[in-house]
Symmetry: C2
Subunit: 474 residues, 2 copies
Amino acid sequence: MPTFPDKTSKFIDWYLEVLDAAELTDKRYPVKGMNVWTPYGFQARRQLDAVMIREIEKTRSVPVEFPTLIPQTEFQKEKEHIKGFDAQVYWVTKGGATDLDVPLVLRPTSETAMYPVFALWIRSHKDLPLNVYQIVNTFRYETKTTRPFLRVREIHFFEEHTCQVDEAAATARVGSNLSAFGAMAEAFVLPFVAIRRPEWDKFPGAFYSIALDIPVGGARTLQIGSIHHYRENFSGPYGIHYEAPDGSSKLVHQTTFGLSERLVGAVVSVHGDAKGVVFPSSLAPYQIVVVPILSGDGAAGVADYAARLAERLLARGLRVHVDDSEERPGAKYYRWETHGVPVRLEIGRREAAQGTVTVADRLGEKRSVGPENLDDAIVGALADYDRRLREKAHAAFASSFSVAHRLDELKDSTTVRLLAWCGTEACGHRVEEAIDGALLGTPEGPLPIDPGAPGGCIGCGAANSRWALAGQPL
Amino acid sequence: MPTFPDKTSKFIDWYLEVLDAAELTDKRYPVKGMNVWTPYGFQARRQLDAVMIREIEKTRSVPVEFPTLIPQTEFQKEKEHIKGFDAQVYWVTKGGATDLDVPLVLRPTSETAMYPVFALWIRSHKDLPLNVYQIVNTFRYETKTTRPFLRVREIHFFEEHTCQVDEAAATARVGSNLSAFGAMAEAFVLPFVAIRRPEWDKFPGAFYSIALDIPVGGARTLQIGSIHHYRENFSGPYGIHYEAPDGSSKLVHQTTFGLSERLVGAVVSVHGDAKGVVFPSSLAPYQIVVVPILSGDGAAGVADYAARLAERLLARGLRVHVDDSEERPGAKYYRWETHGVPVRLEIGRREAAQGTVTVADRLGEKRSVGPENLDDAIVGALADYDRRLREKAHAAFASSFSVAHRLDELKDSTTVRLLAWCGTEACGHRVEEAIDGALLGTPEGPLPIDPGAPGGCIGCGAANSRWALAGQPL
């Protein structure tokens, strides 16, 4: 069997080879950074979307879809925003053989598509809050090296946009988004830290930005989502007013919440191992693969037993695949391990005769279950797998952070670093130079580890510093 | 209450006003022909997609997603195809401030995006059939007047693409698609006729095209989908070969099956009436609206009774909305009729006290049900509504066709016409001129009405003619 590059020392090589082997994407499409969602990858995405939809709709957000193309005139209304995106948007300039009067931008994000229409939808305080989301593709003309799921030019994107009566209500929506993301991250088994980005790294046009970051080995971090408070920064230029109960006209306060296919890359990065992808059952295209061993006598009985078992598990709502292809069992085991299937059921003549099953899970546990309560035992094995995957991920998460007290400790960091920071841009940049990466910002809510009270700023020694995080964003 | 224009004599005016009143789309987006899927419209689309996914996956088709942008070089490989689309594609020519080396087309359909990759995926006869579908947006630079759902510039699109071992297998797939569409049309309550288009009207690059057409009043027809047999017309230029069991290299035969948001427009057009939209329960964003009448004493008891009833119906998997807004009951009734909700439950003090409900459906039936088997009675009322909607639609369908024997009968046709046609383009064009519309083609399968055996060609009198249909496509 082929082996993959070492995940720790050659992370990107490992990542790319594992994705290919697991058939999660096809990057041979003739535009660099625009990849094909293969049948297997699409199934993972479908589960991803289902979790996002379930959790956001619990918070009374409703789906909409706005057009892909945005007129240049609308795109340029908020000045910081356009500065932030101008260099990386695709322009549609022709329809047929005709030059368009107004060039159209392929949306890099949908503020400038939605907000002119929000200004028409919102009249009165009774129209608020407006909480809408869409799952669409966005486009960025990336000039950096592209990586499937992590940095692509066409992005499968989730974006919530809300309008609130005032700043406090918008702040409360940010909190509600953080809770919703907590539930999603729990489903994806992705321990994360919510970090308020420094001023110089916030979203173009935002009042403030909270990034959702995960550690992915060494000092490397991956931003898997973000939540922004816009205050009135967009509602002003786009004229999104409402009539308050006292008859006065007010601007709405806005928030956004963005996630993307990067979550698929994050799951691969966090859980994957030397054998390939490892899916939590929430995202797995197949949660269970049934491998009937069909050689020699009794093959018909084995096939029949396997098919009936699979049908019962399907009826329980599980995603089950019976691999009755002509490959050898060993090749099938290897294949489905590479593909990250949580649980494999091996069924030979003995199992069929005894009404049992050999359960092998993707974390290496193997046991025989049945004949009593066979189906329950299989479902239990899947739950047990998820529990151990979660424990493993949380242990890895906790060991991904360490405290640094001096700038010279930051060089060659082997974890993401916690450090005391006075909050100034000057000290922030000192940290960034020392770690050869980024001052990620100050955590919202609990710290990932408990380092006690912060001392003086790591840059200038000033008291009244706060804990901040620094690392090397992928 | 405002009234809508007359549906028969002012169809387009009626259509546009009904869509606005029902809040199914917002066409005030600042690019003409690119409309916003509103919260209500998006829910109808979600049901549409769910039915399409359910039926196509029953035929062993699997979802994928290919990029939105297609390089000019790939787009131009099949000559008929590019000729058919060249005038109506959007071109991306710039990324940031940089002119792209190879301009990119916003997909008008995905043959030219998928087939270079199919050539990589398919190696052996064991890789066949390849049946994949995607639900994505496509783009056409329409120069005709745009109409929401019917003719737009960004189109919510379903497209299946398949590769088969030979022409017969591809023909069988066409048949399987026809059956799958039959099931979808049954769910949407859209009686249709499958028509093999004449040579001069087939899809650019196809061997033949079968259109799925519905009558929408007078001689007007609406093409709501299409199924194409490509033979080797694309697999040749794109090099999609496979190794046959005998070791020889063969080209695959391909088919496609396309549907779109036009189905939403079709449902509005076919079922809508003087009061607005009429949804079959399969597509209705809300299948049931509960209107508690909350004036005077006992309002709390009424609200509580309504809420508990709604919860029980939701638990049965129904889409239920409780309208407890401050509007008057009459305004609510009007609103939800306009929006096409199949069943309205009116609940006042008497109903709450007796454990009954007044059921009013969108076809005008009103009755009191309960207290025995209340929930079953409501579910039964919804099923009864769908049954009557179906009967009504089939009766209207049957009366939408009539036979024409002479060209001069075609002028001012008040139905779609059946006529005998020799199959030549010359006589086809004579028909088109006479009806001021199109020779739609020859029906696949049963005729919509039974006109007996065809006589001589309506154009030239030739014997051996076949029944064809002519009308005025919207």
